[in-house]
Amino acid sequence: MAAVTRGSFSVFRRLLSQQYRRRCFRLQNFRSARVLQPLAFRFDSNLQTFSNRALHCAAVCQGPIVQFKLSDIGEGIMEVTVKEWYVKEGDKVSQFDSICEVQSDKASVTITSRYDGVIRKLYYDVDATALVGKPLVDIETESGSEVIQEEDVVETPAMAREEHTHQEIKGHKTQATPAVRRLAMENNIKLSEVVGTGKDGRILKEDILNFLAKQTGAILPPTPFQEIQTPPPAVTTAAAKPVGAPATIKQLPTTPKPVFTGKDVTEPLKGFHKAMVKTMTAALKIPHFGYCDEVDLSRLVALRSELKAMAESRGVKLSYMPFFIKAASLGLLHFPILNASVDEACQNITYKASHNIGLAMDTSQGLLVPNVKNVQLLSVFEIAQELNRLQTLGGAGQLGTTDLTGGTFTLSNIGSIGGTYAKPVILPPEVAIGALGKIQILPRFDATGQVVRAHIMNVSWSADHRIIDGATMCRFSNLWREYLENPASMVLDLK
């Protein structure tokens, strides 16, 4: 590929393979020896220290502790400020891993480790002044590992990134830290056969362990399971819902591959999720009842396809939701109790004047319900505009408190993701909610008794049974359905 990378990479590659060779040589020597005695190494300068350490090793079964000094930064700089630690005491580090970030006179410098080992002591706190030439951290190197003699000490992840880019291009250059390479070698595993799950496809220790587990037939990762679809609830109308073959969850979730740890992970619920727990607990104190129905949207589908181009020319994406929302508002004019609120002790009922209809939105943060204010005053087009604005903000994670509060009635378009019938939960302080299933093309009988293609959508309402009864909900639903099945009738009642 690019000669720049090839040119410079060959330098790195030569450098890398030298280090790699050194490691292999050292390891083999050490293992064959089996007893701790001074071994013939290529690095004579370390021979004495190593023999001392080797005895030390035997006595306390610990690796030698190396004081890693802050090397010269250049430009005659004698002291720097430690700005961020990437490691803490007890962390395992590999050679070239970043240890900390220091700053000096508008220059930011990354200090990387020379050794593999465990961090035993940090000499400075964040914002402290570190002196060049003085110890920065203590690293307990693994027994048998060796100090790499190199001229220049301050390493960067540049080399690791270099390898990464080559893995992409060449396809056979694998990226793994020296510790992982050694583990693979000890177990006679070819790195090219292991799939890396770390950052940028890096092979982690867990990947090697996973690979081993597979080979020996140990615990398998969780497999996708078959879900048997339960028959639809008895409340459905006579029209047979074609169930077809039992649905199966065939695909693995598209979330990143889970790392195999084999341990349960417990973490506290914080922030937004903690607040949702409170909301839902309050919600289920409300006695819910459900009511479901089927709507024939064939005429609405035709109308929307006519109007879509016109809306787009005005810069607005027109979906079905603006129609559903407007029809709901028209219905609420006749059944204002569905747009009400009760106080905590259920002593007083407040009939809300504005129809602030909320939309359940699935965002990266979770379930957010922004609302369109004063739908009773808006045209279908204006509702579509508002929806576009809320969807853009929701997608960017930028909804504010004004959009998220003040709702009086909610619609949830779960059908856009999937599903037919649902049992939605009322969001306090509201008293009713509707969940819309997906639009399916199903056979139905028309007025003349012929079988025709119909666009059918299911709706599931839930309401607060303390103040709303079944008949009210049913009549509201019928009115809403009529508006949608005959969109022309909406024209008569539009304000």
């Binding site: 590929m1 690019a2 000669a3 720049v4 990378t5 090839r6 040119g7 410079s8 330098v11 930064i73 250049g74 430009e75 700005k83 961020e84 700053q103 000096s104 006179d105 508008k106 220059a107 930011s108 410098v109 990354t110 964040v126 914002d127 220049d152 301050v154 390493e155 960067t156 992840p157 540049a158 990134r161 270099e162 990464h164 880019t165 992409e168 291009i169 940028d200 506290p268 922030g271 937004f272 903690k274 607040a275 949702m276 409170k278 909301t279 607990t281 309050a282 919600a283 106080d343 905590e344 943060q365 994670g397 930028q398 909804l399 504010g400 408190t401 998220l404 509060t405 306090p428 302080p429």
Partner: protein, 379 residues
């Protein structure tokens, strides 16, 4: 083979600088004769350009050569590696104006970029790292284009015009064997936009993050009206080439082209992420008074808010609200729900609105006002 073809296509420099479109990166750096290169970015996306800097720093062998990268961005605010964005820039104003925020990897202070600001990045080996020499290239260029122009580089590596107006600021990054030093050059930037965004988002921030040192600024164009942008670029490239002994021509590059710069998109994605831009803020605390208003009460009340923020997330939150205005239980619930969330007005808005649903007492209105006041603190 490829080399000779390239030599034919790239015209040799004599007088002016010729710009040539690059084919592949290999053709740029394969020329073993060249002691270096001048690159000009065709992209004006701040994240792509910063990613290109990282890419060159990591992937190009700078031991025997030096590289100059010339770039500019659509309006953006760029903070230094260890700075606090809430303290340095006005995030709500930036959001309203559609100005993005980027955190660079070099140290130093906050700057405002727009198309009237030229960025120069000098790449060299660590041994050849010399900021004075780099700035000399800039000052010499300006003096050549406008003889008699009073431009001086200071000890802090700023460039001052007429002794006290800052037209350039500097920052740098040192790695194992390579380094880069970049600086701005105010040619014709929007000064009113600059002063509008470079002010704190929230009151009461206490931190040890690197503070910016504000200075009065001026545009070059105001003091040298005949100076053209293209002329400036060409002259800088030529001065660099003569200072560093290069003979090559300048090359246009596209930092978003992943085939020329493999991996650059991943670098850009990291720079765009919240975790890098906000999550890397050093630990800080916020102490401020919130005004509590109530339509029914004439008197103004206030609440004390104390928050500790680490890694961009709220580590602890204390709300001291007068008990007769709002019971301690409710202000306690609000604090509890904020802990663990990002220090971000939208995340906080989602959390507090969910909490508001579960509280339907008559104090709902006051709790709502308190929530709004707290969210407003976060910028």
């Amino acid at each position: 083979m490829m080399m000779s073809q390239l030599r034919k296509t790239l015209p040799l420099l004599r007088g002016g600088v010729q710009w040539a479109v690059s084919r592949t990166c290999s053709s740029l750096f394969m020329d073993s004769d060249s002691a270096g290169l001048v690159l000009q970015s065709q992209c004006t996306d701040v994240y792509q350009n910063l990613a290109l800097e990282d890419w060159i720093d990591s992937n190009v062998d700078l031991q025997e050569r030096s590289v100059l990268l010339l770039w500019r961005n659509q309006p953006a605010v760029v903070i230094g590696r260890h700075q606090n964005p809430w303290a340095e820039c006005n995030l709500p104003a930036m959001r309203a104006a559609g100005i993005p925020l980027a955190r660079r990897r070099s140290g130093g202070g906050t700057v405002y970029h727009d198309l009237g600001n030229l960025n120069l990045t000098f790449f060299a080996s660590k041994k050849a790292y010399d900021r004075k020499r780099n700035l000399k290239v800039v000052t010499e260029t300006l003096r050549r284009l406008q003889p008699g122009l009073d431009v001086q580089a200071t000890d802090r590596f700023d460039i001052l015009l007429n002794g006290h107006y800052k037209i350039s600021g500097t920052a740098s990054r040192l790695s194992r064997k390579s380094s880069y030093h970049h600086c701005t050059l105010l040619y014709a930037a929007d000064r009113s936009a600059l002063s509008a965004v470079l002010r704190p988002s929230c009151p009461g921030i206490q931190s040890n993050a690197t503070p910016s040192v504000p200075s009065p600024v001026v545009n070059l164009k105001e003091h040298a009206p005949s100076l053209q942008w293209e002329e400036l670029l060409g002259a800088v490239a030529q001065q660099y080439a003569s200072e560093f002994g290069l003979s090559s021509s300048s090359v246009l590059v596209d930092p978003s082209d992943d085939s020329v710069f493999p991996g650059v998109d991943l670098l850009a994605a990291e720079l765009r992420s919240w975790d890098w831009t906000f999550g890397r803020t050093p630990k800080f605390s916020v102490k401020t008074l919130l005004e509590l208003t109530d339509d029914q009460l004439p008197a103004r009340r206030s609440a004390q808010l104390c928050m500790e923020v680490k890694g961009g997330r709220i580590e602890s939150c204390e709300l001291d609200v007068p008990a007769d205005w709002l019971p301690e239980r409710l202000s306690g619930e609000l604090s509890g729900v904020l802990v663990g969330e990002r220090f971000c007005p939208h995340r906080a808005a989602a959390a507090v609105t969910a909490l508001l649903r579960s509280e339907s007492s008559e104090l709902h209105g006051r709790l709502n006002k308190l929530c709004d006041a707290v969210v407003a603190v976060m910028g």
